[in-house]
């Protein structure tokens, strides 16, 4: 019996889908069998991030409507043999799926895989209800912005009300320099107001955009800082103790120490 993890945030555009793709890939790279499920019916994107958009034949909707078997709809990843994607329909909307149907689908998936990662859509409507109804664990993605933190707070409240209290926080797109200057919320500020457990901090990284467009999750890029952060989160999910990255290290090269010497920001 596997574990279902929902990746949610409330606010849109904070990096839920990116987190889903990368953590899914990261867990698969650790040797776990993983399926990533796109919960964003009507606005699907997870397939693009995984680079599997032209392999979609059947979708989650077809499985629910018994038009195909679950095996037929899950797409095997290009790179990792133990990673699968269950895409959703683009031509339907979130109200076409009920909580019961989703629960059945996820429990079927949990039989087959170690981890079922569900990408939750933005908002707290039907799509959110479906994605969170059957999860055992939640990852809440926030950006270091007041708006995002506020929405995350609402979402945590909703999850608590459902009885899903195993939730952890992913701070995404943190710009170390800006937090140092006090222009951006610090991780401590976010934890202070949300009061939940932190599982990872992902630095702001331009190469994420490139990897998204290419359809290659950044977690597979050994050199990228954000990739390392996602690998660490994946390891923490399976229960390893991993130290938090020192985000200032990216700045501690020779060049920046010279800059520091001259007091340049």
């Amino acid at each position: 019996m596997g574990e279902a993890i929902v990746v949610t945030s409330g606010k849109g555009g904070v990096g839920k889908t990116t987190t889903t793709a990368n953590i899914g890939t990261g867990l698969a790279a650790l040797g776990k069998s993983v399926v990533v499920v796109d919960g964003d019916t009507g606005l699907r994107n997870l397939d693009v991030l995984m680079g599997l958009e032209n392999r979609i034949v059947f979708t989650l909707m077809d499985v629910i409507e018994n038009k195909c078997r679950l095996k037929q709809a899950t797409i095997k990843d290009k790179r990792l043999p133990n990673l699968f994607l269950l895409p959703t329909a683009q031509t339907r909307d979130k109200n076409d799926i009920s909580v019961e149907q989703m629960e059945k689908l996820i429990s079927d998936l949990k039989e087959e895989f170690d981890y079922v990662i569900i990408d939750c859509p933005a908002g707290i409507e039907q799509g959110f209800e479906n994605a969170t109804a059957c999860a055992d664990r939640a990852l809440i993605v926030v950006n270091p912005e007041v708006t995002s933190v506020r929405d995350a707070d609402r979402v945590i409240g909703k999850l608590d009300a459902k009885g899903l209290e195993n939730h952890e926080l992913v701070v995404n797109r943190l710009n170390y320099k800006m937090t140092q200057n006090g222009d951006m919320l610090d991780v401590c500020d976010i934890l202070d107001s949300l009061a939940i457990k932190l599982i990872g901090v992902v630095p702001d990284d331009k190469s994420i955009t490139i990897s998204t467009n290419k359809g290659e999750p950044i977690v597979l890029d050994e050199k990228a800082c954000a990739g390392q952060a996602f690998r660490n989160i994946a390891r923490r999910i399976v229960g390893e103790e991993v130290q938090f990255m020192d985000l200032s290290s990216g700045e501690s090269g020779l060049f920046s120490s010279i800059k520091k010497l001259f007091g340049a920001k």
Binding site: R150, D153, R154, G157, D160, D192, S193, A195
Partner: protein, 210 residues
């Protein structure tokens, strides 16, 4: 069941129907149930005066005239009087020095509403976007950033106390205020209470901090 949502009783002044609008989804649902109830004693109600006691804020003019039409035409009721419901539960809560208290050992998050006709103690934060209604005092052992209504129902002696008092809206009894725009974070717990006809905020032990 829907039974106690509409209670029809006779008293000295005539026939009185007490309607609890909170139990109904909307006006139309209430109307259906009312008609069903009245239908049982059609002959009895004919020509009588009916007093309807309910929360008038839930019924607008159009709905009221619809109700009247039905009562007059279908049940031949002579007159209909609407009366605002004075809930007996809405008595002012008096236990602010010693009395009924609810303890919450969690953070109250955005979108959550707590309503209690007594004192409330929260061991945790109250985040922005949440609402707390208490008949008496509100004590927050943490940061208070939400909307709070202490002394809800009319007790103007109620207080609001928090380690970090920065509410969106703070109301005690019928006085309302909000946090000042310039945020200076004091390093000590604060208490808000009514003095005269304004809400004042002071350190919880004035002699210790001022």
């Amino acid at each position: 069941m829907l039974d106690d949502n509409i209670v029809i009783k006779g008293n000295r002044d005539g026939i009185n129907a007490v309607i609890n609008m909170n139990k109904f989804r909307d006006f139309d649902e209430m109307l259906e149930v009312l008609i069903e109830k009245l239908s049982k004693g059609r002959a009895f109600y004919k020509g009588s005066t009916l007093k309807i006691t309910t929360d008038l804020k839930f019924i607008n003019n159009r709905e009221f005239s619809k109700l009247k039409d039905i009562l007059f035409n279908e049940f031949m009721i002579k007159d209909c009087i609407m009366e605002e419901k004075n809930d007996k539960n809405n008595k002012i809560f008096n236990g602010i020095y010693e009395g009924r208290t609810k303890f919450l050992r969690r953070t109250v998050r955005s979108g959550q509403v707590i309503n209690y006709p007594g004192n409330i103690v929260i061991v945790g934060d109250v985040n922005s976007g949440s609402q707390i209604f208490a008949g008496g005092n509100i004590i927050v052992l943490g940061a208070l950033r939400g909307t709070v209504y202490a002394g809800h129902g009319g007790n103007s002696k109620a207080i609001v106390a928090a380690f970090y008092l920065q509410p969106e809206i703070l109301q005690i009894s019928d006085l309302m205020t909000r946090s000042p725009e310039e945020i200076g974070r004091p390093g000590y717990p604060e208490v808000a209470k009514i003095k005269g006809d304004t809400i004042i905020v002071e350190p919880y032990l004035p002699n210790k901090f001022l």
